[in-house]
Amino acid sequence: MTGGWRDTIRIASRLLVRDWRAGELTVLVSALLVAVTAMTGVAFLTDRVGQAVEMRAAESLAADLRIESAAAIDPAYETLAFENGLESARMTRMPSVVFAGEANSLAAVRAVTPGYPLRGELKTAERLLAAPSVTNDVPPPGEAWAAPRLMARLGVDTGVTLEVGAAQLKLTKVLDFRPDEGWSFVDLAPTLLINGADLESTQLVQPGSRVSYRLLLSGPRGAVRDAKPLLESRLAEGERLTDIEDSNPQIRSSMERSGRFLNLASMVSVLLAAVAVAMAARRYSQRHRDRIALMKCMGASRRLVFRSSLLQLALLAMAGSVVGAILGFMAQAGLAWLMRDLIGQALPMPGFQPAFLGAFTAISILAGFALPDLAQMGKTPPLRVLRQDLDPPALRYGITWLAGVAAVLILLLWIIRDTRLVLTIFLGAGITFVALGAAGWLLVRLLRGFRGAAGVAWRYGLSNIARRGRESVVQVVAFGLGLMVLLLLSTVRTELMETWRQSLPDNAPNQFLINIQPHETAAMAGFFESRGMETPDLVPLVRARMSTINGENVTQMTFEDPRGERWARRDSNLSWTEALQPDNRIVEGKIWSGLPARAEVSVEQDFGRELGLSLGDELGFNVAGETLTATVTSFRTVEWDSFSPNFFMVFSPGVLNDYPATYISSIYLPENQRDVVLDLMREFPSVTAIDLDAVLGQVRDVMDKAALAVQAVFVFTLLAGLTVLWAAVQATRDERRYESAMLRTFGASRRRVLGGVAVEFIAIGLLAGVLAAAGATLAGWLLAENLFELDYGFSAALWVAGPLAGVLLVGLSGLAATWRVVTHAPNSVLRAA
């Protein structure tokens, strides 16, 4: 007997081809393909949508990367960027009073070079109130474009000449929109956009003038990723590099949520497909024990048998990876095509990485869930050729499945890099598995009591479930799991997505009011009341600078996170409250009730982490020259995408009373009530209103795109759920067919056999359906509460849909699988056995 690899490869590949031809591998290969297709399809689509979303998010920076400094930026950065395949543009920004004849107003003058904005588009109009259109240009030298607010303050329209510093520039267009408008407090003055070439003639850049320089960079994703650390390593004192990650917290928050939904979908698909692979591999190994015994009888060594199984798996993994990746690519292309109108822009092409992910998925699923069964199959004793009852030693499923789960866990942790999400899902899946198993066992046992209660079909069907005890439990678990995911997808998903979208309702605040003086608060309440509008919440704000953490001077501290460094060096906005707003959630510590004895502060979780804070830390602040200390008593998360006024640091009431405060607020004004703002400005001249519509639009757009992608991606999960159902039906198909043929042989009528099979499957389907509804309710609630931080309501529909879907899906598929038995002569089934 030869045992070399060449012979093994020849034997393994031939047997595999023959198995494939005889239909022995259909379920296994399908399950594998679903896993790889789901993984690669999701990865391809996530990659493309992610790129599109990032590009959209990048618009709020007008670039992929931005270097900002109070001193002129070294041209060496541009050279470096150019060498790395990036485009660049410059913006120089300074406040200046602009004159139009006698009229004047403070403006934020922005001098830009051609190419600006690198991401997003400018919108301009020929004159005030005219329809804006997109432009790819910047103002030509000698011309200026002004924001409508500036033109309103100056009382001019296009065509006039403006004095900007020492230069005379012709106002040629209304600057209706620029993508990097943002809404930070520095962006208060309306914009005047001029050409960078005119900057010198304005003579605005003088020693001591408040100029800020920006270098904007953009390019292909890989180039941006590579260039970022290079640029970061060269940053000089006072220079700051920003990318989309730290640009807009609202968009970031939306992106994180959609990323979680997408990863959840692909993870659940892979886990389900793994279950299907395990079931298919088990059936394959059971059906092939005779072959192994025979091969050994003919002289095949254990090594040859094991290597041959290993090679077959490797070949399957290879074929599955390639075909799955192609299918995944086609599937995402199809989905992208279907969504083309909704996405509203051509998606960028995906990278190659998802194909490798597919290969890793195939290998880990096969190694984790199919190899143990196939290796066990190799231990079939040769004596089985004489004694059919001899099986290989029983597989310790606990250990092997643990190995399989570990393999997939490592894979997912590596891909998804969101430890909390992965562990939550795994823990959830584990608990679901055990709970389904325990409940299934209990229900199967309970069924024994009903055996004598009904007709022959019922007795036969129900006794089958009880007799097949373990297999029945496995089937109830598999069906239950498949159904649970289908239910989660069809109902919970829609509700989760709706809840998410509703977190930014149509009447989300679109105007931010700042700089409201304390003495104006009562009058402002009256202003809204007189217009029949609800008085908005006025939130106090005190400007301060953090001076110490636990008595140590922050300027002398080093922070692990560069963002922490930045936070410690800049002014902060502080506020106080008696009770937290609904979009804030305490994650650690406790919020005060009433008036605490000492000064307490609640810190936003990420902000706290970046500064390295923990509960009980003493924070010192410099407020208008005085020192204030407060103890960190809680950390909280903030839904930044709610667009309500929110703060990194909120104090207990009374602490900030003695310091100069202003108030801020946010209101929603429908399109037809915009004149309220004008009235408000007239009545309260010191108050500034910031229009958030543009930012809101960007966030809504990101949300819609992400939501669509998520919906589409759940199709894969659906497929994986159906594969589990299929594998579960196939698992006992041989035995069932044989038994039914036997019954037919003994004279049972076609109706009776079918009735028995139907009862068995319907009962299993019903059990699985009930368990699935319970599981889906619990899982939906856990997901909403813990992972997505949304409030989730109980759904009665689940309890109808679950059992009904179970009875229909499982009953019908079970009947379909055994149909041949009653439509063909029993002999053909018995002979094939």
Binding site: M1, T2, G4, D7, R10, I11, R14, R18, D19, R21, A22, E24, R287, D290, R291, L294, M295, K296, C297, M298, G299, A300, S301, R302, R303, L304, P381, P382, L383, V385, L386, R387, Q388, S828, R831, A832
Partner: protein, 226 residues
């Protein structure tokens, strides 16, 4: 060609240890055909399994083709079988996912033979099944399945052929044809045959008959064929 000394097999049953084979000794010469007969549970198949190295005895030794089977590990026994042994079983043991031809090719492929297909085709022709070579087992009758199994056993030209109730699943007429084929090929190749059966008429076609009862060889008879 085949020798056993003090061969015994004990298994554990719910009622305690059970001896299913006790102190069996035998010698089979090259080219000889020997039948083992006995009632169900007499230990015939257990003996066949031990002689072919498919199982390990509790005590005693077995030699096959000059090598001690009982001194070899499982892979060693497999290698020995690959070189010297062919099998025909009562329930045919054809692989359901392979065609008739592929079933015959399998032992040749396992031994790394170069011309597996041609040799298997020749063997299929010898048993008269060429027209059905591409059929799967479930498309063949019982007699046809056993003919495929015989072709598979002889295609590697084994020195020893073990046959376990080769006609047990066949009707009388088909059984007779199969027996005819088996013995013809046996004499053509000069194969040593060890046949397990409870059919005395079939046994009488062998050179010798060993009668088994309760795990022991009770007596031995030379037949007219010897």
């Amino acid at each position: 060609m085949l020798r056993a000394r003090q061969l015994g097999k004990q298994v554990t049953s719910p009622e305690g240890p059970l001896r299913i084979l006790d102190d069996v000794g035998l010698d089979v010469r090259p080219g000889e055909s020997v039948a083992i007969v006995g009632t169900s549970g007499a230990g015939k198949s257990t003996l066949l399994g031990l002689l072919a190295g498919l199982d390990e005895p509790s005590e005693g030794r077995v030699w096959l083709a000059g090598r001690e089977v009982t001194a070899l590990d499982e892979d060693g026994r497999a290698a020995l079988r690959a070189e010297n042994v062919g099998f025909v079983f009562q329930s045919f043991h054809l692989i359901a996912s392979l065609t008739a031809l592929e079933n015959v090719m399998l032992p040749l492929e396992l031994s790394g033979a170069e011309n597996a297909r041609d040799a298997a085709l020749e063997a299929i022709r010898t048993v008269g099944l060429e027209p059905r070579k591409s059929h799967y087992p479930h498309q063949l009758s019982g007699g046809e399945k056993q003919r495929v199994a015989i072709a598979r056993a002889f295609v590697v030209q084994p020195e020893v052929l073990f046959a376990d109730e080769p006609t047990g699943n066949l009707d009388q007429r088909t059984g007779e044809k199969i027996v005819e084929l088996l013995f013809n090929l046996n004499s053509e190749f000069g194969t040593t045959l060890l046949l397990v059966t409870h059919d005395l008429e079939l046994a009488s076609r062998c050179n010798r008959i060993l009668f088994m009862e309760a795990g022991r060889i009770e007596r031995e008879e030379e037949t007219r064929s010897s």
